[in-house]
Subunit: 305 residues, 4 copies
């Protein structure tokens, strides 16, 4: 049972994580981890991206010659671009729809330099652990794939491009939806009540900053359906194995996987930082894809996949 | 920190729960608990309902003259209507879109009598614990209120009635959406990453059978918004306190409550049991309302509310 | 991973437990469970004891025809001998070396009827769960055996008898030591730091009322030893398997079992209730033996045995 | 509720920890932390020791100008003296009474360089966290003090010195007992069953390498006592407050502190590495004192002290 503990503020010395419970004897794939970090940093795969490297991971424990020892795997990424003076003005101001105010209310103190623990950069340690989780899952034939389904309500590439250009010109930002699919899952993952597969998935997705909605299978559309259209029929063949004719359920029944594809949508609100010129992102969606995959991979691993 | 452990199959001897960490010295309100169980059983309040009693709770521990001792509070409800012979035919069959197959796949055995641990009746212990949680929250000025927002896509009472009548006639079922609001929350509840307020809420909601989607604040609609419309402006008044002008965020920023109303929608698929005549429900929504409230109350308590 | 939640005061309606994570498909041995409860109630095995039955267990969930379903197994034992009037005088008094005062200090309220949650009777649910754990372990060749090692410093049966007679005459009580052995454990159980095998065992033993000391292997005696006498030599035979020549370590190194016998001692203080005439026990040790075994069995199961 | 996650092998890149749940707004005392690490490294206080510095801690997160933010505090200590070539011979050998064999049995792989995760050096992150815990406890008037009670059975300074000299000459090692006292605890800490104060203390102590026994209050001696000598009488004064006349119980009744001093003994076996000449320690006890204190401090904090 993999357990991940993460730490770090966006403009502190470093961010990182500790993975406990990783099986011993796994040769970790450093190239794959680096590629996933490029996806997080650029929203593009390492082959599409001009950047070959981005955030550099240092492993501190749990490995001997890149093979896992079964003991806790700790890793850090130094925060190099820590121009905290850029944020000096924020020391005494709460930015709208950021977490500045809520952190102050909760702790009576906050790291005002660029989001601190509320920054999207805190997802980085999840991407590293997710890369290791994906490696383990791949060996078992489980594949996770996410992609941008829509941005600002648009689903067509050219319309999306035009929208993003418009937003950039206007100094505005825009939200969107990521779709994710998990194939190759065995039947039987998830627990009857307190750790239902979909409940753990949902919790993982809402850990990602800016997520406002989650649905799986046919999701919200099922609220308008009749039972007669929503039910997934199945057939017993002679050998006793079961075949599902449809998959409105999204691969889960009673909180437990049925062996079909699990698929879900995650809705992101627009980035709250707007009107700041070149340096800021217009849309988090391309960079969120690898994060959704990582959180899904960690959930599957945690539930025994 | 309240922790709830539940147990029980729909047609076993009893279902129940154990509440750990309930503060000592609370006089529990048995009438209120009974009323909440009437809502769960009938979808109506005890004043609307003709049934005065439904499931009878027996408390086994943790109370002295109905006052909490601080020790675990165990309670059970006997399953009286356990006509297991009704289900004899299901012993060797998997019902479509039920959990029969997934339980069999997971455990190699299942309680085939009426849903077993996958039955909606397993929510009953959550309703009891939720009633106690609500009592504690009410003393702190926190109120939770859920209601049916739509059934089968209809939002108007007369149209809903017509739709339900049609479904009943056709032996069909229908889904819907429950809306829930939490008022009076202090700012500062929820944790920065692994226990974000919305993530814990989402996990709790997906524990309820038939839930397929969850969104909070403006939810999925925010995926089509621009930052300039989605951001919640706030004002500092002279005393240093903060006022929010809008609440697209749904009362949470960076995983932590900001003191505004938290509100969310929960999408339910249609009940999978169809074509069975009188005895079955056409729509779970009216009975789900109190369950949504209970799960919300337990989440708020667990996060320190 | 078996998880046990217990509840109940000695003079409330019932005491009991909920076992989560018990493997599905196990036929539970009700006779064995009943025999273990006789040992707890009388300090004798069911064949030595004149009482055939003692506390009657009712299983509420998690079983179908006595076979485990993989879902939570809840069980209760009603408290029949609840003469709370006997304790009326204790309502406003703190008995010396009992938990009356500390419960009052912690909770501001307490169940004054016969010890409440601090009563040794709260061990009963552990004995039931321990009996199921033993059944599982036995199938894997793991056997747990405890026995009284000494009472009041005496180790010889006739001297112990004489001492107990004297204590009874004087209205006094006396402490003692229980020795326990676990045979058949595989090498590799326990975690490097936070869940060392011995640490989990120790925690389990100190959960038992009146326990004041725990040592494993050669224990406290090793504090006076030299390394040259304390070290356990081992030999590699040709096949690569390892043989230990001594077992001062008590079957554990670095928190992890090495495949040798694990053995340990548990020290009990005298029962604090004295001078009360016939009804009270002079010595808890004979009845503690089965509790020590149960706690050991639950620990081994929890650590993967 | 402070939670500590630790990581690191003795000869890997670094060892360290992540403290979650530390209250916000605490100015950490770096000088005190450094002094505690000198105690761990040398067995002497920083004023007795000639070494002014030892292991250097780098804090990576959770602090702003040395003030805690309420977010996870991560810290590392680099392993500088990592002469792994010294250990090359151990690659294929199991040292007697070390954890080499058990790690190999558990994981199928081990870090053979100097103990890896089983090294006493893994206690270092606990000492850092313990120093922070002590700082918090001190503000509440809770003081923890440990000292060497005996070495090799000797309790007198001159005899201990002679014994250590003899062991050094003979290339042997020796065990001993550490006594620890916790003063200023409020009544009411600890839980009735699964987290009794003494059970959590015991678990923490058995996390320390080489610990073979734990007793609190009068401990094993109580196994030979009568109830009439073991019971702690108390008086109610007029104001209703309670005074204890003796403290055989060691400040805990029914798993919950009673406001008196908590005291306990921890037995250490001799260091298993013997016959290695100058470089190795003869006795771990002097260096273990600060570790016992740290583990006690973390336990008290975790239980709400």
């Amino acid at each position: 049972m993999i357990k991940l503990t993460t730490f770090g503020e966006s403009h502190g010395a470093a961010i990182g994580g500790v993975i406990e419970g990783c099986p011993a004897g796994l040769k970790i794939d450093r190239k794959f981890i680096a590629d996933e970090l490029v996806r997080r940093a650029t929203g593009k795969t390492s082959s599409e991206s001009q950047r070959r490297e981005s955030d550099e991971v240092e492993f501190l424990s749990g490995l001997l010659d890149d093979v896992t020892l079964g003991t806790p795997i700790a890793y850090i990424v130094r925060n190099t671009d820590a121009r905290s003076e850029d944020y000096e003005a924020l020391k005494d101001a709460f930015r709208s729809s950021h977490a500045d105010y809520t952190y102050q209310a909760k702790y009576g103190i906050r790291d005002w330099r660029g989001g601190g623990r509320a920054s999207a950069r805190t997802m980085l340690p999840y991407v590293v652990a997710g890369a290791i989780a994906k490696q383990i899952l791949k060996q078992k034939g489980i594949e996770i794939h996410a992609e941008v389904k829509s941005i600002g309500g648009e689903t067509e590439a050219s319309k999306i491009e035009a929208l993003l250009t418009r937003c950039r010109a206007e100094g505005d930002s825009v939200g969107g939806i990521v779709h994710c699919s998990i194939k190759g899952l065995p039947a039987g993952l998830g627990e009857p009540l307190d750790d239902k597969f979909q409940a753990c998935l949902a919790k993982a997705m809402f850990t990602i900053p800016a997520v406002k909605g989650f649905e799986y299978g046919d999701g919200f559309a099922m609220a308008s359906m009749r039972g007669s259209e929503a039910n997934d029929q199945m057939t017993d063949d002679e050998s006793g194995s079961v075949e599902f004719l449809t998959n409105h359920s999204g691969g889960i029944q009673g909180g437990i996987t049925n062996g079909e594809e699990v698929f879900f949508n995650v809705a992101f609100k627009p980035i709250p930082t707007i009107g700041r010129g070149d340096r800021h992102d217009v849309c988090a969606l391309p960079r969120a894809v690898v994060i959704v995959e990582a959180m899904a991979a960690l959930t599957v691993i945690r539930l025994g996949g």
